[in-house]
């Protein structure tokens, strides 16, 4: 049961971590405009000012072609090969950061169209495509996780319901006598509902321990992997509130399972059977 509870919570944690990462990247979404090769530095600076004056733009940076070549030389390690080129093949580049308000999908698209129309711009590139794909994947995953959570919650209810059903069968005589001497239905049900809630509590605690253990187990490798990708991605553990909510939800599920079992099996036990 702890496993059934731990699984969806673990997936949710992974998703939340992923969403955190993509949100961080989205804010860094930038539009890159490559100018035509025959555009000179002065014209490029004029363009920079023109774009900067647009209200949708928060910042524009001009990377001049010489500077770009120098950076490429360092980062690519093609130092000697580049010496063979007769001229610099790289254009001037404008790195454009949109305002927060223009950072929606439609806003960015509008911006791209506006820059694309400029005469001296050769090509506009937006790094949004893969981001949208990641977002789509996380959204799909999150729905899948919710569906899975519902299924597993139902499984928890059934497991506890079955446990309580067995408890009811074991204590059948006691229930009969209690009903016979004037025990109300709620009096007879109460201990079983408590049993269900306690089982839920136990399951929640087990789930929490499993989660913490597997996070601790996974975190080292994940940090190394994220380091290799130069990402600050890390798996967030359960907060205190989250752990508390997990245990409360588990208790409610346990109580619910017990309630179902009690409804289905205990009300059948009628003292008329013995007299």
């Amino acid at each position: 049961m702890g496993v059934a509870l731990a699984l969806p919570v673990a997936l949710l944690l992974v998703l939340m971590s992923l969403e955190g990462v993509s949100a961080g990247w989205e804010s860094g979404a930038r539009v890159t405009a490559y100018l035509k090769l025959d555009v000179g530095v002065d014209e490029a600076r004029g363009l920079l000012q023109e774009i900067e004056s647009d209200s949708r733009i928060s910042e524009v940076e001009l990377v001049e072609r010489d500077q770009a070549l120098a950076e490429f030389r360092i980062s690519s390690g093609l130092d000697e090969a580049l010496d063979f080129l007769q001229e610099n093949p790289l254009p001037h580049t404008l790195l454009i950061t949109p305002e927060d308000s223009a950072r929606t999908e439609a806003g960015v698209e509008g911006l791209v169209r506006y820059i694309q129309k400029m005469d001296s711009v050769e090509r506009v590139q937006v790094d949004l495509g893969w981001l949208q794909r990641l977002n789509a994947i996380t959204e799909m995953l999150s729905r899948a996780v919710w569906a899975l959570s519902v299924l597993l919650a139902a499984a928890v209810v059934l497991v506890i319901g079955n446990t309580v059903r067995l408890a009811i069968e074991n204590r059948r005589d006691e229930i009969l006598v209690a009903k016979l001497v004037g025990g109300t239905d709620s009096f007879v049900r109460r201990p079983f509902l408590y049993t269900g809630a306690w089982f839920g509590l136990g399951g929640g605690v087990v789930a929490f321990i499993l989660l913490e253990l597997s996070l601790w187990w996974l975190n080292g490798p994940i940090e190394r992997l994220a380091g290799l990708y130069r990402s600050d991605f890390s798996l967030a553990g359960l907060s205190f509130d989250g752990a508390f909510a997990l245990i409360i939800v588990a208790m409610v599920l346990g109580w619910l399972g017990a309630w179902v079992a009690v409804k289905r099996h205990m009300d059948d036990i009628d003292p008329g059977e013995i007299a």
Binding site: D173, G182, G183, T184, D185, D270, A275
Partner: protein, 225 residues
């Protein structure tokens, strides 16, 4: 205390357990209910305990008409009725004390109150020294007396017994009948279903006799008192 007015109980279309039964029992009265097996003794007791509902007629217990009593109210009626069974229905997973305490526990009585009243009931049936034993360790007669202690522990105004002496030898049976006699003397209405005719004759009390669901003797409240 108990009143049956033209009570009929039909189980299936072809099986009628009770036919137009009329009788009334007063407070403090002790009566026997006899008849061959299948004559309807158990059905009559079940109607009093609201384990069954009559098909026709009216059942009144303690001034309350039971016919249309809501299900939720049934436990409160049962708290005023003590029942002794032939197979005593004791729980073997707990002590004699805890068995007798059950009717008080369902009412939410305080532990000190429960202790006092359980010991009083056990004292009355002469088993105070065995309160910590498991009912399994007791003899048949003792088990039956534990059952009686449980039935009277919350001082119900009405005591029903279904074949309370069924498995006991005559001497023990007489003991138990004497106990019932004592309860009726303090105002408890006692109705004992039995087919032990010898015992019934010996006690010389009012006797309701059922034959194929019909009350053939003892129906008038004044007869045999």
């Amino acid at each position: 205390m108990i009143e049956f007015r033209q009570v009929t109980k039909r189980y299936d279309s072809d099986h009628t357990a009770l036919r137009q039964v009329n009788f009334a029992l007063d407070r403090g009265e002790l009566a026997f209910l006899t008849g061959h097996s299948g004559a309807g003794k158990s059905t009559l007791l079940k109607l009093v305990m609201v384990m069954e509902r009559p098909s026709a007629g009216e059942v009144v217990v303690g001034g309350q008409l039971l016919n249309r009593l809501p299900r939720r109210q049934i436990p409160y009626i049962r708290r005023h009725i003590g029942v002794v069974f032939q197979n005593h229905q004791l729980l073997f997973d707990r002590t004699v004390f805890d068995n007798v305490a059950m009717p008080l526990e369902v009412t939410g009585a305080s532990p000190s109150d429960i202790g006092r009243r359980v010991r009083a009931a056990l004292d009355k049936v002469g088993l105070l020294s065995k309160e910590k034993m498991n009912p399994m360790q007791l003899s048949g007669g003792e088990q039956q007396r534990v059952g009686i202690a449980r039935a009277v522990v919350n001082k119900p105004p009405l005591l029903l017994a279904d074949e309370p002496t069924g498995n006991l030898d005559p001497e023990l049976s007489a003991d138990i009948m004497n106990l019932f006699g004592q309860f009726s003397q303090v105002g408890v209405t006692v109705l004992i279903a039995t087919h032990d005719i010898a015992l019934v004759n010996e006690m010389n009390r009012r006797t309701l006799t059922l034959d194929h669901g019909r009350l053939v003797a003892g129906g008038s409240p004044l007869m045999g008192v």
